[in-house]
Amino acid sequence: MNFDAHAPIYLQVVDALKLEIINGRLAAGEKLPSGRDLALHYTINPNTAARVYQELERQEICFTRRGMGTFVTEDKERIALCKSQMAEEALSKFLISLKDLGITKEEAIDMINEANDICLV
């Protein structure tokens, strides 16, 4: 994974893991790698990896079972909420870029409708 070195790395890994959870590559209730394995997988500092899980726990997307490790939440609604939050973030970034280009809402909607259906169905 290529990181943006100007933004906290733990937050970038948090987003990467949320994406895995939202699209089901990591299932609800699934056990997550240990802190060290996470550090190795993303080649990040082990303290950063520990912070990733702290943040995901704080956001109630993961939870820790004492002596057993960290797991994805079993609360599907929480995952759905996470998805809509991330979609909102992506949308607002997109809207800001279009605004900077001086594109109106109507033009933006037309552009979306006319765009090659790269991935959206």
Binding site: I9, T43, N47
Partner: protein, 240 residues
Amino acid sequence: MLQSISVCKKYLNKIVVDNVSMTLEPGHVYAMLGPNGSGKTTWMKMVAGLVKPSFGEIQFDDKPVDLQSKKEIAYMPTEPFFYDWMTVEDVGKYYNDFFEDFSLDRYAQLISAMNLEMDLKLKTLSSGMMAKLKIAATMGRDAKVYMLDEPLNGIDLLSRDKVIKAIVTYASDDKILIISSHLVEELEAVADTAIFFCDGKFIGMYELEAMRFEEGMSVADKYRELYAKTYKEAEDGVVD
């Protein structure tokens, strides 16, 4: 805890390490950064007990570094330190004889993780392979402090990835890792703290995630900022 207390090193009239005071804590990976000739290597050699400070003291766990602390501090110098008639396997045996905390099993794991073979002769190794071998030998010890001087220098990208993975594998709560490098970007994700040296002086220590969060700065940005400032002050005569 590793403490450098007003450490100076003078060679004749040249001051190579100038009044360096800092404290390094276990559980961290420190990136030691600075231009050539900024005193990083000399400071490491003093921690390793190979060079004596002209003034000041280095303490590990509240005791001055000495022969005893060599058992707990693993140092990898930039220069090669093996005989070229040796094989990779011989290097392991050689280290095993020298260091009580060396583990042949761990060495074997590192050698295989680095894609090296035990029967390779050292004189046939490329510089990248030699760099990986040095890391495997140093990290094969179960030390409390690891100091790696320029482990990424002169090696290809794939070997660099292996070296960095080895660093992540063996970093833990009770160990201090100090890695010097000119390749500032390579250490962005793996180090958690950066130490900056300039002209023999310690000019700052920064927690990287905090720096990114509060200032939106990468290590490379901070490096440029600090050295631009330091050199400008020197030109303006602000620094004595």
